[in-house]
């Protein structure tokens, strides 16, 4: 039953796109995903108009002060389970706008983020790769066949793994900044 559930969730991620003050570069790359060349409907990805229908929230932009509350409201309207993907350098950390007076800087300062896709703007392939990696993290790795005496290794919780990886990326970026 859990397998079926996970299978359905991995095969049918419906996304909602939110622009929190981006320069429209990342947004164009997201729209490019829907065009015949990249066609994300192959993976069951559909761009949904309403946050009530969406599973994955794609956020672009540096999150301005004005947008922060709206972003939070949109996030809270989405039904569980939900994931947030920060797309572009601005969404990951504030990018070139970091420290600006009217900018919060980084999506993860407002809502929990599951995956970061850096780039200015990231190529459509990179976005697709990020979304697929996020979804594959939902699939717990199958325990390898082992001798009968040995216990199967405990499978790490997928969300924890993603969060850990995300934390790693943030720390790396912070180190780079230093």
């Amino acid at each position: 039953m859990t397998d079926t559930k996970t299978w359905a969730r991995v095969k049918s991620p419906w996304v909602l796109h939110f622009n929190s003050g981006a320069c429209n570069g990342c947004d164009i790359e997201i729209v490019a995903l829907l065009t015949p060349k990249y066609d994300v409907e192959r993976f069951g990805v559909k761009l949904e108009p309403s946050p009530r229908h969406a599973d994955v929230l794609l956020v672009t932009g540096c999150v301005t002060q004005q947008c922060a509350e709206r972003l939070k409201a949109i996030y809270e309207q989405m039904p569980q389970p939900k994931f947030v993907v920060a797309i572009g350098a601005c969404a990951c950390s504030g990018g070139v706008f970091e420290g600006n007076y009217n900018v919060v800087g980084g999506v993860d300062k407002v809502i929990p983020v599951t995956a970061y896709i850096p780039g200015c703007p990231p190529r459509p392939e990179a976005i697709l790769d990020g979304v697929v990696k996020l979804l594959n993290a939902l699939n717990p790795p199958k325990p390898k066949k082992q001798p009968k005496q040995a216990k199967a290794p405990e499978v790490a919780k997928p969300e924890a793994a993603v969060a850990q990886a995300a934390q790693g990326i943030v720390e790396e970026e912070k180190q780079v900044a230093k």
Partner: protein
């Protein structure tokens, strides 16, 4: 006792609920594939061979998602309208002969054409109620548009459905289909104008392009579906897909000779089901082609089109049929 179990089997499995559900999901996949191919894309590919399990994956995913009821919504109607609409649509399909007989009885009864059209009307009204009860501005506008559009095309739909009934001299769907098969003359050849009009009205009934103003994404977010999540959204989507099957099945029965066709060997129910499904898929492909090729009209254009063009055309079509059946066809046949 065996009859009783047979009836249960027919209702639940074949040609009842399970068969119809599979057909619905398959048609949904086919529609998405056709749409994708016409737009130079490939469409769903990853879920199952050729992406054939994509509608199933969507359905299961929606069923297992969190179910939110907004505080402002009218709770009872909001919760039950999608489910009841779905039930009524499936019930309406039970009156359509699929394997040579309908699900509930061998030949139906006189007037079941009127009954199933009325069911479709009630289901549409329930969809309106669902959107209205969600108390979301977009949902409310979408619902109002559903009702406005539905007032315009429902009368032409009934009038055009009367054309085949008049030629066959019966209001019983099984009789209309059987008439075409015994005379070896599907009504698409006998009354092509009515077929064209029926397909156009069907597009409006199914809220597909160029008549998809009630849930036009670029204006109304999700139309009446805007506020729905989880299982309720799943059933709204399923209702829409079952409506597509229902409309296409009606076209098959009224204009393409129903499930009847040559039986080569073995059981007749197998061949009848095969012919029915093949004809149904052709009709679905035609409607999907129209959907992809045409752009959306404005709501006022849809309305004036319905009342100024479609309604007079439907009345003219009926008058033409009456003249032909009374004076012309007897000379030819």
């Amino acid at each position: 006792m065996i009859d009783f179990f047979m009836l249960i089997f027919r209702i639940l499995i074949f040609p009842g609920f399970a068969f119809l559900l599979l057909l619905t999901l398959f048609c949904d996949w086919m529609e998405r594939k056709i749409e994708a191919r016409l737009q130079n894309r490939v469409g769903p590919m990853v879920a199952g061979p050729g992406g054939i399990l994509q509608p199933l994956a969507d359905f299961i995913k929606l069923l297992t998602k969190e179910d939110i009821t907004p505080r402002a919504a009218k709770k009872t109607i909001f919760k039950f309208a999608p489910l009841v609409a779905f039930t009524i649509m499936v019930f309406a399909l039970c009156f359509i002969p699929i394997d040579g007989a309908s699900v509930l009885s061998a030949n139906g009864f006189s007037g079941d054409l009127i009954i199933i059209l009325a069911f479709a009307t009630v289901a549409n009204f329930l969809l309106f109620l669902a959107g209205w009860a969600s108390c979301n501005p977009y949902g409310t506008i979408g619902s109002a548009r559903v009702l406005t559009q539905f007032l315009g095309y429902d009368i032409p739909l009934f009038l055009i459905a009367l054309t085949p009934a008049f030629i066959a001299g019966s209001l019983q769907i099984a009789n209309i289909a059987a008439f075409q098969s015994t005379h070896l003359l599907p009504f698409i050849l006998l009354a092509p104008w009515a077929f064209v009009l029926f397909i156009i009205t069907m597009q409006a009934e199914l809220e597909k392009d160029p008549f998809d103003v009630p849930h036009s994404e670029s204006e109304l977010v999700g139309g009446l579906e805007t506020e729905f999540t989880g299982a309720k959204l799943a059933f709204l989507h399923l209702t829409r897909d079952v409506q597509v099957i229902f409309g296409s099945a009606l076209v098959v029965e009224l204009f393409l000779g129903g499930p009847y066709g040559p039986v080569f060997f073995g059981a007749s129910w197998f061949w009848f089901t095969l012919w029915f499904v093949l004809k149904l898929l052709v009709v679905v492909a035609i409607t999907e082609y129209i959907t992809v090729v045409f752009a959306r009209l404005r709501i006022d254009q849809v309305l004036s089109g319905n009342w100024r063009i479609l309604l007079p055309a439907a009345i003219l079509s009926l008058m033409l049929t009456v003249v032909l059946v009374t004076w012309v066809y007897p000379l030819v046949v």
